[in-house]
């Protein structure tokens, strides 16, 4: 803990907020398991799925600033090919 923190009054609002989270996380039991699950899940969702399997289709296929033209062409052509 920093010197500043040590000297901070315990009635100070920000100290109490910090203490709530610090103490809460430190004394977690079941919470540790749950946080582990959450972190693994977030890693899979954002680090793997989003990164490798869910690109933004329009960003990849339409020129920047030309998304509306791309969508318009798609919508008109699909109706014509119907």
């Amino acid at each position: 803990m920093s010197a500043k923190h040590k000297t901070m009054k315990k009635t100070n609002f920000w100290y109490r907020v910090f203490d709530l989270y610090y103490d809460g996380f430190r004394n977690m039991r079941l919470g540790k398991t749950l946080w582990t699950v959450i972190l693994i899940k977030l890693l899979i969702i954002f680090g793997v799925l989003k990164m490798f399997f869910f690109p933004n289709f329009l960003k990849e296929h339409a020129e920047q600033g030309q998304e509306s033209e791309f969508v318009a062409t798609e919508l008109v052509e699909r109706a014509e090919s119907h």
């Binding site: 079941l30 946080w35 399997f53 329009l58 998304e67 699909r78």
Partner: protein, 524 residues
């Protein structure tokens, strides 16, 4: 959908739909329990706040712990739906971006700030904040989750009933012209009330079932008794509330999505004084021959009930599938166009869009009068834009068996739950629930999957019933989907299936362990 056209591989559409359905169904396993348990734990802690009896504190902490497990497992499962919008449904995503941006941003901010703040106070703050502030935090945690649900349901309701927007052919987006109309759409209000109240039922069933399990094992009798009292009262009130809000929802559906109602009812030919089908022999695996059959075979129906449900009038007019396809006149004299006429108007709209963009952005300098003419034609026919993609009017009929049976499962289980909660309350107040026959405890446990099946059936009705539309009358699924290879969508479908199933197994495992462990008593 086998007759769907295009350069798009039809299996891409089907796999994209299946993937979205899978993700939404799994997401909906976590959400209702979060919303429902929020009410239960809020009531428990209110009892503690009023009585200062540490029993209630232990009880509140126990249900908060189960809430926390479910909350942790559900975190970010909804975000995957947004990934799918951007990848699998890019045309749709572009068209709705301006409408969905605000509600989803508010949802994200509210969810993050309210839930991260108040969940922390609820779990970490028992000895750090005053009892009143802690109680407020517990209720605000639930309120935060409920507000999140509001914005998600606003977005969903908009797809079913697009209001407060104007299509801009330059940006190719539906632009919001009235935030109030979008946020307070009557469809959204009904959807929110029905969905959230049905989530409370899930929380109540879970509470009663876990408590009955304790009674089966002959332990935690006081916790079980008090939890059953609260759970059953919440459950009964919510079940009756779900029936009432369900009626409102059906009334709204009859107004803006009559085809969905006709499919739910397997109503081929409508009219006045319509009866509500209790049960009929609809082939579960094939679309019925609605053009030639007068009605579903072996139909047992409640007289006038469908007219009351749809119009609040026992003699009200309810159109059937054939009426909607062939056109009909409403009792107020309004003529509803036939599918063929709508298809013609839709084609005109799409042609006008193409001509407008060609005139304005084509190689030659756009003649202002030509541009204005095409814009006018587009605006005139815009309400039927999506019909321009329909090749055969049968594409406008959702798969009747799924709607028909899902609706009956939802309503049937809903009625069963009302009866169940009444029986439980009878045992609580007129007999001794702690010494009730075992079949009651076992039936409480059986109610957990049944309540979930009813809840998911509600989603099936809402989402299957609006097919083929991703945006009602504006965009069918095959115009919304990205031009992806189906194998890539298939791959992510199975990744999700494995991921979600694992997560569900982990959740059930942790939940069961904590339930077996039981509440922690402060005095110990």
């Amino acid at each position: 959908m086998s007759n769907i056209l295009l350069t798009i591989d039809t299996s891409t559409i089907e796999w994209s739909r299946a993937q979205f359905a899978l993700t939404a169904i799994y997401h909906w396993l976590f959400v209702p329990l979060t919303l429902g348990l929020a009410v239960i734990m809020g009531i428990m802690e209110t009892c503690y706040y009023r009585t200062k009896d540490t029993f209630w504190k232990d009880a509140a902490k126990f249900w908060q712990k189960l809430f926390g497990i479910n909350f942790a497992m559900g975190v970010a499962t909804g975000i995957i739906l947004e990934f799918e919008f951007g990848t699998n449904w890019s045309n749709y995503s572009w068209l709705v971006g301006d409408i969905f941006g605000a509600p989803l941003a508010i949802e994200g901010i509210v969810a993050f700030f309210m839930e991260s703040t108040f969940v922390a106070v609820m779990f970490f703050g028992w000895k750090k904040v005053s009892a009143g502030f802690h109680l407020a935090s517990t209720w605000l945690t639930g309120l935060g989750a409920t507000i999140s649900a509001w914005w998600i349901l606003v977005a969903n309701a908009w797809m079913q009933y697009p209001v407060g927007c104007e299509f801009n052919p330059d940006t190719m987006r539906n632009e919001m012209v009235s935030f109030a109309e979008v946020a307070l759409s009557p469809f959204a209000i009904d959807k929110f009330c029905h969905t959230v109240i049905s989530a409370w039922i899930i929380g109540a069933v879970f509470t009663v079932a876990v408590s009955c399990w304790y009674l089966l094992k002959g332990r935690e009798k006081k916790l079980a008794l008090e939890s059953i009292k609260i759970g059953a009262i919440v459950g009964l009130v919510a079940s009756v509330g779900a029936a009432l809000t369900g009626h409102h929802s059906a009334f709204r559906v009859a107004e803006v999505q009559p085809m969905k109602l006709a499919a739910m009812e397997a109503l081929y030919n409508g009219g006045t004084d319509q009866s509500l089908t209790a049960i009929a022999l609809v082939n579960p695996f094939a679309q019925p021959d609605y053009e030639n059959e007068a009605e579903a075979p072996l139909k047992i129906a409640v007289p006038y009930a469908l007219s009351i449900l749809a119009t609040n009038d026992p003699h009200g007019y309810v159109p059937g599938i054939n009426d909607i396809l062939n056109g009909y006149t409403k009792p107020d004299g309004t003529v509803e166009l036939s599918a063929d006429e709508k298809i013609e108007r839709g084609k005109k709209a799409i042609e006008a869009l193409a001509a407008y963009r060609q005139a304005k952005y084509g190689s030659s300098d756009g003649d202002a009068s030509v541009v204005a003419y095409h814009l006018e034609v587009l605006k005139e026919n815009m309400p039927y834009f999506g019909y321009g993609y329909i090749r055969d009017k049968s594409e406008l009929v959702p798969f009747v068996p799924v709607n028909f049976y899902a609706f009956r499962i939802m309503v049937g289980v809903g009625c069963l739950l009302i009866l169940f909660f009444m029986v439980v309350l009878f045992f609580v107040y007129k007999k001794d629930i702690t010494a009730a026959p075992k079949w009651l405890y076992w039936s409480a446990l059986a109610m957990i999957p049944l309540a979930y099946i009813a809840s998911e059936s509600g989603w099936l009705v809402a989402e299957f019933g609006r097919q083929p539309w991703t945006i009602q009358d504006m965009l069918p699924t095959w115009a919304s989907v990205s031009n992806l290879h189906s194998s890539s969508v298939m791959l992510t479908f199975f990744i999700f299936l494995i991921l979600f199933t694992t997560m569900l197994a982990v959740e059930i495992n942790i939940l069961v362990k904590q339930i077996k462990k039981g509440p922690e008593h402060e005095n110990n």
